[in-house]
Symmetry: C2
Subunit: 270 residues, 2 copies
């Protein structure tokens, strides 16, 4: 379940003083996207009134937006009579995103190779401020529903991928991100205190990779590796994830880290 929401593209606010009020800002479009985003907090089909409430728009507005989005395939009626759900047309944009992201293109074959060698779950997640978003997912045998879904995200502050990325950011940006994060625990072992998180990040910086135990899911061990762009800034992470029922942390590290580190370097451009 996503806990944080995306902000504008980083560095965008600098370009235009007040980016949601200038004459360039299309208010009706904002409302429309809020209508689509109403489903972010839903776990069942939404009625028009529910959509209007979630999106913070008038019921009439929701009606017209839904009508239009429906005519374009972005929303459809729920199979069983009542309410609306997201439409299949959205998946076309998923494909556009994945196809056109050079990082995803570059990473996919490398991850496939890595997956073949380590035989555990291998993922690519993209850095998005307070969270990392899974974009490529290569499963192993045992999986939960959410570990197969593209678009799923986990917080930066308590995931191996997040730590890997934070370990390559300047201290003040790390502080800023941790301060703004909603640091609710996922498991009893989730690290939520800022000093403890900073320790983890320091350890990650020293080792070159992040090791997380029981952070998001009980019984899960994961290693995260930063992926750098041409400027040396971290933009993504790759992960190898396994089960603590099968691995001791030592074996997991010895067996998987070298291969994954090499893969992360192959994807990085720095």
């Amino acid at each position: 379940m996503p806990r944080n929401t995306t902000r504008a593209e980083p560095g965008f606010r600098e370009l235009t003083e007040n980016n949601r009020s200038g004459p360039l800002f299309v208010r009706s479009l904002e409302k429309a996207m809020q209508v689509l985003a109403a489903f972010h907090h839903a776990d069942a089909p939404l009625s028009l009134s529910e959509i209007a409430a979630q999106a913070n728009v008038d019921r009439s507005t929701a009606q017209r937006m839904v009508h239009t989005l429906r005519s374009m395939g972005y929303i459809r009626r729920a199979g069983d009579g009542r309410g609306f759900v997201p439409g299949i047309r959205l998946l076309d944009h998923t494909l556009d995103y994945l196809r056109l992201d050079p990082l995803v293109r570059r990473a996919t074959p490398v991850l496939q190779e890595l997956r073949k060698e380590v035989r555990e779950r291998v993922d690519l997640s993209l850095f998005d401020d307070l969270r990392v978003v899974y974009a490529v997912r290569l499963q192993s045998k045992r999986q939960t529903f959410y570990t197969t879904l593209v678009g799923h995200s986990v917080p930066s502050f308590c995931s191996s991928g997040g730590w890997a990325i934070l370990s390559r950011l300047p201290d003040d940006r790390v502080r800023d991100i941790l301060d703004r994060s909603d640091r609710r625990p996922f498991t009893p072992h989730t690290v939520t205190q800022i000093p403890a998180i900073l320790d983890k990040i320091a350890e990650t910086r020293a080792n070159g990779y992040a090791l997380s135990l029981n952070q998001i899911l009980l019984g899960e061990i994961a290693a995260g590796f930063p992926v750098l762009d041409a400027n040396g800034d971290p933009v993504a992470a790759i992960h190898v994830a396994g089960s603590l029922a099968e691995w001791t942390p030592e074996d997991f590290v010895n067996r998987n880290i070298p291969l994954a580190l090499e893969a992360a370097r192959a994807i990085s451009q720095y």
Copy 2:
């Protein structure tokens, strides 16, 4: 590469006579989504002018739409200076779609089990008129880039999933779909003639599954199985796909069909 585009939700046109002109239709939203959809035909970052041309809107309109979509994270600047690309925020809607589709929920664990047993690529694709759209993808060892991507689609007329679905539709709907399809071949073996396609569909109807050889990709063998909703109408298909370098068609059928057929029945609601 997608060859066909999505239409409105089936049965929608019946509801409102002219669904893109009534007072309920929000024109600026249509333009905005066309702007986002401009990337469907792109294979590199798009400039404002290119977006305007693709979306059939004024450059000024494109500018304002892009500005707004950017401020919300749906579009971002390309990493290397010039142009725009789809933004990560789109993946949030991908997740909404996958989470809220009951079919995807039901199918995922069944497909994981199937994948474990057949050890070949296993997919779920959703019926969308002229095409089927991949929503769940469980890889095997050897993969191409596109066989890993959620949102990728293939035509109904020449894919095992398409045949599986068409085999459960009434004849006149099949004719209609075939007539409207752009039946360009993908490989020298792609079946493009309507009589030949109808033969394939008849064979599928008799067998209960569809077998495709070299239709989309040379060297690929795939079996497709229809998934039915509570009314008995086909809404999706599951696939098992392997390589002709490893399988004779007979072995492929004998080894994989029974398990996959059972999986398709488990997912169906009829």
